[in-house]
């Protein structure tokens, strides 16, 4: 009896680990393939057969991307957006979450109500578009920062974290004569680094990956983001094969390389920064996520 369960457990273990290993490979393979394609000579890629390793190793694809002024400017703009947007968003989120976590705050209840309602009711894509247009935010850099400045979901996560801090903490700071700003910046924030790291990661990834606001609100060349450039290249190539209009590529860059290579290379350029940052923050965001979700 005992030994039979043991054999069964052993089999289960082997099966389980194999399955998870396959899943890991299925998740990782496409990225490795993109990397191999991006490091392979573009005309050679057309012959097929590039899997995990480049056949004719070259950095030309990357060189081309960074020597293209338009792409370089877009990359700089994306970095700028991510830095400014994340900084402002994180500070504003922390502030409102702290205020909401204070039990004696007179506007706590009414603020809570308008947050919850805003999570379910929204005007829809066209009314919001017209609002942004009427505010004069179209074709400005500000449209990347302001409308998404504070997200209700992030406020909720942050507030749940502040809620479970010991009550006496804020009270004793108050007794020592600290005002609200001092309490927040000197007492509460230093012990909330895990959740701040979590929120910072979410917000910065959101900024870095965003292209829909570029697509909807900014048609100016000088305000084009890297993700949007990649999106346009992607749409161009799918339109070409599906025989749609607008397939004439005006992109000079496509004369030197193939759409497949340029797509793979740009995908790598926009993905690598995330891959470098995120594993280091993993232990924080798992904690932050579960805490926020469980409380809700």
């Amino acid at each position: 009896m005992r030994s039979r369960t043991k054999v069964g457990d052993g089999l289960f273990n082997v099966f389980n680990n194999t399955l998870l290993l396959l899943l890991g490979i299925a998740t990782l393979y496409p990225f490795l393939n993109l990397l191999a394609v991006s490091l392979n000579q573009s005309l050679d890629t057309m012959r097929g057969g590039i899997y995990l390793w480049p056949r004719e190793f070259t950095l030309d694809n990357y060189r081309l991307i960074f020597s293209n002024d338009r792409l370089f400017d877009s990359a700089a703009l994306s970095v700028l957006r991510t830095l400014i947007g994340t900084g402002l968003s994180v500070i504003c989120t922390i502030m409102v979450a702290y205020a909401l976590s204070r039990r004696e705050y007179m506007l706590r209840k009414s603020l809570n109500a308008i947050i919850v309602v805003s999570m379910y009711v929204n005007g829809g894509i066209i009314p919001i578009y017209l609002m942004i247009k009427n505010l004069g935010l179209t074709n400005t850099f500000a449209v990347y920062i302001i409308p998404g400045l504070i997200g209700a979901f992030n406020v909720m996560i942050m507030r749940s974290y502040f809620d479970q801090l010991p009550d006496g903490l804020v009270e004793s700071a108050k007794l020592d004569g600290a005002n609200e700003w001092q309490t927040l910046f000197r007492v509460v924030m230093p012990i909330s680094l895990p959740v701040i790291a979590t929120i910072t990661l979410f917000i910065s990834v959101g900024h870095w990956n965003s292209w829909t606001d570029n697509f909807l609100y900014n048609s100016k060349e000088s305000l084009t983001l890297l993700q949007y450039q990649l999106m346009q290249i992607l749409m161009q190539t799918t339109e070409q094969v599906s025989g749609g209009i607008g397939s004439g590529t005006d992109d000079a860059i496509l004369n030197f390389t193939t759409p497949q290579s340029i797509r793979a290379t740009m995908s790598m350029v926009v993905t690598l920064p995330i891959l470098f940052v995120y594993p280091f923050l993993q232990k924080y965001f798992i904690k932050g996520m579960t805490l926020g979700a469980m409380k809700e």
Binding site: L107, I125, E171
Partner: protein
């Protein structure tokens, strides 16, 4: 440390009660109103810093969540940009009559709901399944590695995901086609992204792959909290790992799982358009277009904003109704709710 904290709290509490009682004693009918106003003013003065901290958020909510609701008026107008909301002619429910007689609207609504539902079901089953399997892994290092890897796609933009999907499904030496040919299932490469019937499947698989690992986080946390005594008791009864997983871990997940499933049905219609826009193309439009894209096309390309707003408004109203229904359902089932 703990005791000190407690004592501070009791002192302030006692003080609070004491002050309140004296305040009550002082209050006479005539002075009551005046006193209350004074008290309110005093808390306001004390809390102005907290109020300042909330100002940006309230401003953002007002501008981008609440004021756009005003735009719903356009759905009852024949809106022209030149005249604006105040000058445009009112046409009553004309836009909605047009909407409900529009065949393409039903196609788009079908696509929206079908893709949401497919995503909901697959991601739900996938998250539970993967969480159960991960929970059984004995090696911590292996578990962490698999977790780290499967979380990656969640952080990668849809643009890159779409780029990967086109690469994998490509008829020119795409890995999937190579595999199918090697296995002898097809004779020549299939151009999957141009096949209407495949679009929902491709879209679902892409979303599944992207969010699978990430969606396990909450379930893993719940599994970590399952009472170890249950597993020990099962050990005594001679249950193997698989049976413990099925009879202890899975039931342990069920309360969380059912509440999450119920709540997520509330969002069925409230999905965006990013993934559909990136994966779709002209050839599969009949299966790829969703409500938001339809509204966008109508407003931006045809210039009929009123109709676009009517579509948006339909979507918002249905999603609110769905959320409310789902919440009262969840309440009846006896689970905690969000509202």
């Amino acid at each position: 440390m703990n005791r000190r904290r407690k004592s501070i709290r009791t002192i302030t509490n006692e003080e609070g009660i004491h002050i309140e009682q004296t305040a009550k004693a002082i209050k006479t009918d005539a002075g009551l109103k005046n006193n209350l106003r004074k008290k309110k003013w005093k808390t306001f003065a004390q809390q102005y810093q907290l109020i300042l901290m909330s100002v940006p958020f309230v401003g953002i909510l007002a501008l981008f969540s609440y004021l756009p609701l005003w735009g719903w008026i356009m759905a009852f107008q024949k809106y022209s940009i030149g005249r604006g909301i105040f000058g445009s002619e009112f046409v009553g429910f004309d836009q909605f009559v047009k909407l409900f007689n529009d065949d393409w609207f039903y196609t788009v609504l079908r696509n929206t709901l079908a893709m949401s539902l497919m995503h909901l079901i697959t991601s739900f089953a996938g998250a539970i399944g993967l969480a159960l399997l991960l929970n059984e892994v004995r090696s911590r290092l292996f578990k962490r590695t698999i977790q780290t890897i499967t979380y990656i796609p969640h952080f990668v933009s849809w643009v890159v995901i779409a780029s990967i999907v086109t690469l994998v499904l490509s008829p020119d030496f795409g890995p999937l086609n190579e595999l199918l040919i090697w296995l002898g299932i097809v004779d020549e490469p299939v151009f999957f992204l141009s096949k209407e019937k495949w679009f929902w499947v491709i879209h679902t698989m892409a979303g599944f792959w992207k969010e699978l690992g990430w969606s396990t986080i909450i379930y893993l946390a719940v599994l970590a909290g399952v009472d170890p005594a249950l597993y020990e008791a099962a050990d005594v009864d001679g249950a193997g790992r698989f049976r413990k997983m099925i009879h202890i871990s899975l039931p342990g997940l069920m309360p969380t799982a059912s509440i999450l499933l119920i709540l997520n049905t509330g969002y069925l219609i409230a999905t965006g358009y990013e993934s559909q826009m990136l994966l779709g193309n002209n050839l599969v439009m009949e299966y790829s277009q969703v409500l938001d894209l339809y509204a966008l096309n109508y407003s931006m390309q045809i210039g009929d904003y009123s109709y676009g707003v009517a579509i948006s408004m339909f979507k918002s109203v249905v999603s609110i109704v769905l959320v409310l229904l789902v919440n009262s359902w969840a309440k009846r089932v006896g689970q905690s709710t969000v509202l």
